[in-house]
């Protein structure tokens, strides 16, 4: 089967992740089977299991990487100069764009149930998610100059509002939304207007 020019160590693994992400984005996560991934990569289906213990592991890996990419984008957005509202606004923009630009990653990261209690305890997904959320939390802590529960609650509430918009736009694409750009602008505008005020 033309065995020449074998991929280097670990190269196949990256290739599988790339291909899987593309298939997820194109056909939806549920529709992508291990056989489809294997065929697209050019190897047999059982060969996938030399690189991942289960098929879920592929999605989990993509999920962690997605969180990391989101973390980097949020960090960058939050670090720019400006008033706290402006920084939060940029962070929100970045968040929403990320979700809409990478729907497959976003779905895996935020909209797929964790296999309840399967993964031991130190879930890498949770850790990656916490890192990304940490950027938002840090902004709130900095602006409010407090690390209390209320500050955490404000950050979590803000996160939820951003997520809600992305999630609904991704899942309910048949819904008669007002113009997407307009809705995003209005949503973020309201979100940032009184974001740091105590409840």
């Amino acid at each position: 089967m033309a065995q020449g020019a074998r991929p280097r160590i670990g190269e196949r693994r990256e290739q599988i992740l790339d291909v899987a992400l593309k298939l997820f984005a194109e056909h939806g996560i549920q529709q992508v089977t291990t056989r489809r991934i294997a065929q697209a990569v050019g190897i047999s289906q059982p060969s996938l299991y030399a690189h991942f213990r289960t098929s879920d592991e592929i999605a989990i890996e993509l999920c962690c990487r997605g969180f990391t990419r989101l973390h980097d984008r949020l960090t960058h957005a939050s670090a720019e100069a400006g008033t706290p509202e402006e920084r939060l606004r940029r962070l929100g923009e970045e968040y929403v764009r990320f979700g809409l630009d990478h729907p497959a990653v976003y779905r895996v990261a935020f909209m797929v149930d964790q296999p309840t209690g399967r993964i031991p305890e130190p879930s890498p997904v949770l850790a990656a998610g916490l890192r990304a959320f940490g950027v938002l939390l840090a902004l709130f802590q900095e602006v409010r100059d407090a690390h209390d529960e209320t500050t955490a609650a404000l950050a979590q509430s803000t996160w939820a509002s951003m997520h809600g918009l992305v999630a609904l736009l991704l899942v309910r694409h048949e819904f008669p939304w007002v113009g997407r750009e307009r809705l995003i602008a209005l949503h973020l505008g309201r979100l940032c207007a009184h974001a740091f005020e105590d409840a």
Copy 2:
């Protein structure tokens, strides 16, 4: 096989929906197979197909009913006396409670991808969802005395914020949330504070 005392017409269908919903809530949608449903009902697996054309139809039916129940609860909450903010607050409370109290229904209704373009066009799910959303929209139109795009955008934005909280609480249950009640109260408080103001 103890064939006596057959269920009446349509009774089995209801029973299947009841059982399926319970199994969805208990084990998660993905883990529930047609064989498990059939076994719980006490019939053979192929017999399900006498009542539903595909297994998805069970979820779709539950989804529509969920939207209808939500619609009724929102209507009731929105109809009570009070200031617009109070009415919106009650509506939001009802929404969040509904999602958290009926996670299986909520998941099916809001967090499962529509089989892209499979169902002809007049999607019953979309229709049921629009009816439920209509309650929120009507409140905004009444308060603002306008049926323009901005009003629709405000309602959609508010809906998204409520959904975001419910969705994240349901899916990311391993996340270190601040106290749930506190988070809900804070989230709804911020949501309703300036809800009707133009952007």
